[in-house]
């Protein structure tokens, strides 16, 4: 028995060593840094221990702005992207002929580089001395006056960021949802059809509960992914996100470590821990809510 235990641990060793070294140790380290005031990487020194880092971060207007941006992004993009993905997946499942073509088209953004996609969005939305951009052209047809979506008012920039984020995260969700829809046994639909169930009722009473585990997975990973947003904002607004008012929490952490105002690992650590706590809380809430609505 003892022998077996030893063997078991030996088999687990690679995974434990890897995860411990690259996941658990840094996590604990970040927690320690976040309580060490004025930590310096080069000299590995700090002034004292306490909650000052948290207090500073929570009073920093840049952090508060990043917090606000992140929350807006999460609240708008997670439900919308999940809803659109669901609609598109249901649509894809009900067509036969050119389904593969559409599936490929919808999946393209997933294999396209974030920055390349950002460039395309710039062309769509950016105002230059020579052109108002494609979006403004279309809006102009409906009588709207041109808006600078990239360097203009806050809501315009936020709109673009949300559209961009939704567009980027949808392919993965569509892929997962179409396979989930395909895995629902045809026989349930036949049973419902025999009983004269309307299409809408079939969808809400059979399809949705059947794919609820997948929906739940997508919503949780969607929340976590959206809270960690950063590269999308950079792709659209460049690296100076603070002056563009479009910074996110991860962006703030990055700035604190390496940006113009860089060199403050303690503040960065504190911000990272705050983000961790937020994500943990939201995930726990999700888990609690899901118990009622997810059928395995």
């Amino acid at each position: 028995m003892k022998n077996n235990n030893l063997k078991g641990w030996l088999y687990l060793l690679p995974a434990i060593a890897f995860l411990g070294l690259f996941m658990v140790y840094p996590l604990i380290d970040v927690l320690i840094y976040s309580f060490e005031e004025g930590f310096n990487f080069a000299s590995q020194t700090y002034f004292g221990v306490g909650g000052y880092n948290y207090s500073y971060v929570l009073h920093d207007p840049y952090f508060l702005s990043a917090l606000k941006n992140t929350f807006i992004l999460v609240i708008i993009t997670v439900p919308l992207s999940t809803l659109f993905s669901l609609l598109i997946s249901v649509g894809l499942s009900s067509i036969q002929k050119i389904r593969n073509l559409f599936q490929t088209i919808y999946f393209l953004p997933y294999v396209t580089n974030t920055l390349a996609v950002g460039l395309v969005f710039m062309i769509l939305f950016k105002q230059t001395p020579y052109t108002n951009g494609l979006a403004n052209l279309v809006l102009g047809w409906f009588g709207f006056s041109p808006v600078d979506f990239i360097a203009g008012p806050y809501w315009a920039k936020m709109t673009v960021l949300c559209i961009y984020t939704i567009w980027v995260v949808m392919p993965f969700k569509i892929l997962i949802l179409t396979s989930a829809l395909a895995s629902v046994d045809e026989v349930y639909y036949n049973a419902a059809k025999i009983d004269g169930t309307s299409k809408f009722r079939i969808f809400t009473k059979i399809t949705l509960p059947m794919i609820s585990p997948t929906m739940f997975y997508l919503i949780i990973t969607g929340f976590i992914g959206a809270f960690k947003a950063y590269s999308d904002a950079v792709a659209l607004f460049g690296i100076d996100l603070n002056s563009a008012e479009m910074n996110t929490i991860v962006g703030y952490i990055y700035d604190m470590l390496y940006g113009n105002s860089g060199g403050y690992p303690s503040f960065a650590s504190a911000a990272a821990i705050i983000l961790f706590v937020i994500v943990l809380t939201i995930t726990c809430i999700n888990l609690l809510v899901s118990k009622k609505h997810v059928h395995y």
């Binding site: 046994d185 026989v187 349930y188 036949n190 049973a191 419902a192 059809k193 025999i194 009983d195 004269g196 169930t197 309307s198 009722r201 009473k205 059979i206 509960p209 059947m210 609820s212 059928h295």
Partner: protein, 381 residues
């Protein structure tokens, strides 16, 4: 006894409301998927009437198109040609929901996320407009059918918490709750273990008699079909072979396929020939068949068609004897037999005479069927 009589009265009273089913030249062809493959004719020119209030067994080997026939009646599949009537109404082009059929699927198709009660009320909740029911009425109706199939104590459970037999009752309850004109069951017993299968088929018979609803069920198990059906329909590769009361079909098979398909133990088939009004198997003349002209034939003899007789005309090699209580099963062999073993069921009283290497039989003429070699058609004598 009284209880049974009451059931009979209920059945007779209710019977009037149910439908006879008429199939008219019904054909379903699945087109070939590639150019090399052939079209599959799953149902070929079905033309028969199912009287109302009967329990019909649609019987055939796997892949013979019986499920397709059921799906055509339910409306889940559209026929290539031909018509279906419920009573006097042509329902060929009606979608399934307007046909008023209840269908029990092979794997029951209970919604796993709903409780038993919710599963049963599901069809009722679909009603719209003036047919709409209140929650109380739906629960009452559901409880009523649940009592009929004896699952009224399980209403709060999820399907995963039920045994196979209970799940099947729930499926039947769900099909019955909307008071369908016709109840269709696709391999209703195939997912149950042997003991439960026996029990459930009696149950099925009881429910059918009690409600009087015209019921069509599909099975590949001939014993199952024979034991509970009022009529059986024997089919193979989309072609209807014989339709009739189970005992009639058993005693008067129309061709070799039907003879082989019905009966346990299976019928014994021999290569034989007719010469001068005598039926020969090997060198022995075993039966007088004066009305048949000379030719090669297939001879099929039911296991109960053998009579042990020291002066018998038919000699077989005795392999072993299996005792089954009242009867014994004589396992013999013969060079002209198409099966490896010949099985004869005889009364146990004859056992003492079975002590030699060979056994001699006389044949009961009405248990011997003669078929044409090529077509398998029955030759009557």
């Amino acid at each position: 006894m009284v209880y049974n009589y009451i059931l009979y009265i209920i059945a007779r009273e209710r019977k009037c409301g149910y439908m006879k089913v008429t199939l008219q030249n019904l054909t379903k062809v699945f087109p070939a998927k590639s150019k090399k493959a052939k079209d599959v004719i799953a149902v070929n020119d079905f033309d028969f009437v199912i009287e109302d209030g009967l329990l019909i067994g649609l019987l055939g080997p796997s892949g013979c198109g019986k499920s397709t026939a059921l799906n055509l009646i339910s409306g889940l599949q559209k026929p290539t040609s031909g018509k279906i009537f419920f009573g006097d109404d042509d329902v060929t082009n009606l979608p399934p929901e307007n046909r008023g059929v209840g269908l029990v699927f092979q794997n029951y198709a209970l919604y796993p996320h709903l409780t038993v009660l919710q599963n049963i009320t599901f069809p009722l909740e679909n009603r719209k407009g003036k047919d709409k029911l209140t929650k109380e009425v739906m629960v009452e109706m559901a409880t009523e059918v649940a009592k009929l199939v004896q699952i009224d104590t399980l209403l709060d459970r999820k399907p995963a918490e039920l045994s196979g037999g209970q799940q099947q009752r729930v499926a039947i309850a769900r099909a019955l709750v909307k008071k369908p004109k016709i109840l269709l069951l696709d391999e209703p017993l195939s997912n149950l273990d042997a003991r439960l299968r026996l029990q459930t088929r009696e149950e099925l018979r009881r429910i059918q008699k009690q409600t009087g609803i015209t019921t069509i069920f599909v099975t590949h198990d001939q014993e199952e079909a024979m034991s509970i059906s009022d009529m059986i329909v024997v089919m193979k590769e989309g072609v209807l072979h014989q339709i009739g009361k189970p005992q009639d079909v058993y005693e008067n098979p129309i061709d070799l396929f039907v003879a082989k398909f019905l009966g346990t133990p299976p019928i014994n088939v021999f290569d034989g020939y007719v010469k001068g009004g005598q039926l020969y198997i090997g060198d022995e003349s075993v039966l007088d068949v004066s009305s048949i002209e000379d030719k090669e034939v297939d001879v099929a003899i039911r296991p109960e068609g053998f009579v042990v007789d020291e002066n018998g005309r038919f000699t077989c090699n005795l392999n072993r004897i299996e005792v089954m209580g009242r009867d014994i099963s004589v396992v013999a062999s013969h060079e002209k037999s198409q099966n490896k073993d010949i099985r004869a069921i005889i009364s146990a009283e004859n056992m003492a005479r079975l002590n030699q290497a060979t056994v001699k039989f006389n044949l009961k003429p009405y248990k011997v069927y003669i078929f044409e070699k090529d077509s398998g058609k029955r030759i009557y004598f």
